[in-house]
């Protein structure tokens, strides 16, 4: 087992490194740099020497390979540098947004799990009845509805029916939990519904597969309680693929909620992403891409680990 873990951890390094190389050069292919963008607002004829001075200050006058080596050397010491746009340390910039994105991702996951598992099991047990059809239509509709639009509809309904608008300014949970939840529950519901659709379908098909296994028939033949068969024998075995889907979706939620954040006026990682690319803030964009890739890889790693732990055949390969 230890050998397996070690191998997987070592495999992460080349992937992360390639992501780093890719984002480094991709950002520099994009036309326009931060200095041009910053001076563009001030006057159409910014002095060339001023531009050059600013570039030198940010280290953008160095040859590409030198910039890359400097950045890599920083990464090795966990020094991400500071944002080119605001000048604040990147860890500081990200920390504030990270808390919000994490909370939203967790809340959306809870919504999704609470919806998905009972519905999926129900649909599998009542396969090809109207219950099954209803659950399937509900979940396909979830996949089809853009969550940002669902967010707009929620806001509209609250406004028209209850004449109430959720708070639009973020308050951290530990400052005022009620205020915080009143704001975040709506995006969590909108995102969670969409996200539950994937998990519901997975639960249904995994349950259907497991229910046809021999050991379920044996358990039935033994005269075991239906409830016990479902919870102990069937659900437990069906949870593996469901867990995978939920975990990967969670990783995606951490950086991929750009549009929903926009609708609800939330300052999460997604919005920071768009801003940093728009500003050509190289250091911040690189750090963000690495962070999101890292979350994705680490979640993937844990999923594989759970698999290997539960299924010895995978480990031995």
């Amino acid at each position: 087992m230890l050998k397996y873990i070690l191998k997987r951890v070592l495999l992460m390094i080349p992937t992360l490194l390639s992501v780093a190389v890719l984002v480094f050069f991709l950002m520099r292919i994009v036309p326009g740099d931060i200095v041009e963008l910053r001076f563009a607002g001030e006057s159409a004829f910014a002095q060339k020497e001023n531009l050059d001075k600013e570039r030198a200050r940010l280290g953008l006058d160095q040859p590409l390979w030198k910039q890359f080596v400097t950045w890599m050397w920083g990464l090795l010491r966990f020094d991400f540098g500071s944002s080119m746009w605001t000048g604040a340390p990147i860890t500081e910039e990200i920390r504030l947004r990270f808390a919000l994105s994490l909370q939203l991702a967790i809340m959306a996951t809870v919504v999704a799990v609470v919806l998905a598992i009972p519905l999926g099991v129900l649909a599998a047990l009542k396969q090809d009845t109207w219950v099954d059809y209803a659950v399937r239509i509900f979940s396909i509709a979830g996949l089809a509805t853009p969550s940002f639009w669902l967010g707009i509809v929620f806001i509209l309904l609250l406004l028209i029916v209850f004449k109430w608008l959720p708070p639009m300014v973020y308050t951290p949970f530990w400052v005022n939990p009620v205020q915080n939840l009143a704001q975040l529950i709506w995006p969590a519901l909108a995102v969670g519904y969409r996200y539950s659709a994937v998990a519901t379908r997975m639960t249904r098909s995994a349950m259907l597969e497991v229910l046809r296994e021999d050991y379920i028939r044996t358990a039935r033949a033994k005269g075991l309680w239906q409830k016990l068969i479902l919870s102990r024998h069937a659900l437990k075995n069906a949870m593996l693929p469901v867990l995978t889907v939920i975990a990967l979706e969670f990783a995606f939620l951490m950086g991929g909620l750009v549009v929903t954040e926009q609708v609800f006026n939330l300052n999460g990682l997604g919005l920071l992403f768009v801003e940093s690319v728009a500003h050509r803030d190289y250091t911040l964009t690189q750090a963000l891409v690495l962070l999101v890739a890292f979350i994705f890889i680490i979640v993937n790693f844990f999923v594989d680990l759970t698999y290997a732990w539960l299924d010895p055949r995978i480990r031995l390969r």
Binding site: R136, I140, I152, G256, Q262, V263
Partner: protein, 299 residues
Amino acid sequence: MAVRPVEVVADVPEARRRSRWWAAVRDFCRRRPLGAIGAVVVALNIVVGLTANVISPYDPLATDYGAMLARPSMAHWLGTDAFGRDVLSRILYGSRTAMIVGFACAFVGATVGAVIGVASAYFAGKIDLLIQRVMDIFLAFPLIILALAVVSILGTGMTNVIMAITIPMIPRAALVTRSSALAIREMPYVDAARAAGFRHVRIIMRHMLPNVMAPYLIMLTAFLGQAILLEASLSFLGLGVSEPTAAWGLMLRGAAVQFAETAPWMAIFPGLAISLAVFAFNLFGDSLRDALDPRLRTL
């Protein structure tokens, strides 16, 4: 998986072949009513996209400052937007945009992905490992960043949006087809083709690719819906199709949110159009998946 014996169709008369095909369609409708409904809505969407210029009551770009933010009425069935443009006409024309983006992305993404996936499985060993790692990198790379980069380099517009959406689809398609192709590589007919001295390209294209048709078709329908959704999201962010082109995501942007309280029709109907189109594609794709391969679970 979808490994069928080679069908001998050459000596079946044309009429019988057609009736067999027709029977398959009828069987699909009877056994999977939800899928059939989806297929009808998809067909309707395509027809609307093709004939938008004939059936639209107004020019989608024509502004009418006398009727800004007009309520739904006999003149404007779904109301007008902040520039007095007819919402219904813009939704009908938006269907054209959505279908073009959807079909282009899904077709290119699934096809390129399938070729890479099959080739990866066929060559195996070091090449397979290398291709898999490259695909991993693209999978870990956030889609929105790729889209942002493509749009920043090439600018907004339909072709660039199609590229931005297609690129991240390729590794997903490659992953799925590779797993199906692994089993096909072990088939005797692939060995036979190799023994006969055929070139790699021929074995991959002629012998292996046709046998991953089932996962390919399933992926194609799934990607169609996803591409339409992504296009809507990108356009909503201002990174997709640019004004004044009629696109559903674009219609939800800016004024639609700003005037949501006084003119909710601007925010509601384009969203419904997106949901309905994607819903139909998913419904059809799901039933197709069940019909073609009940074991293939998800993408």
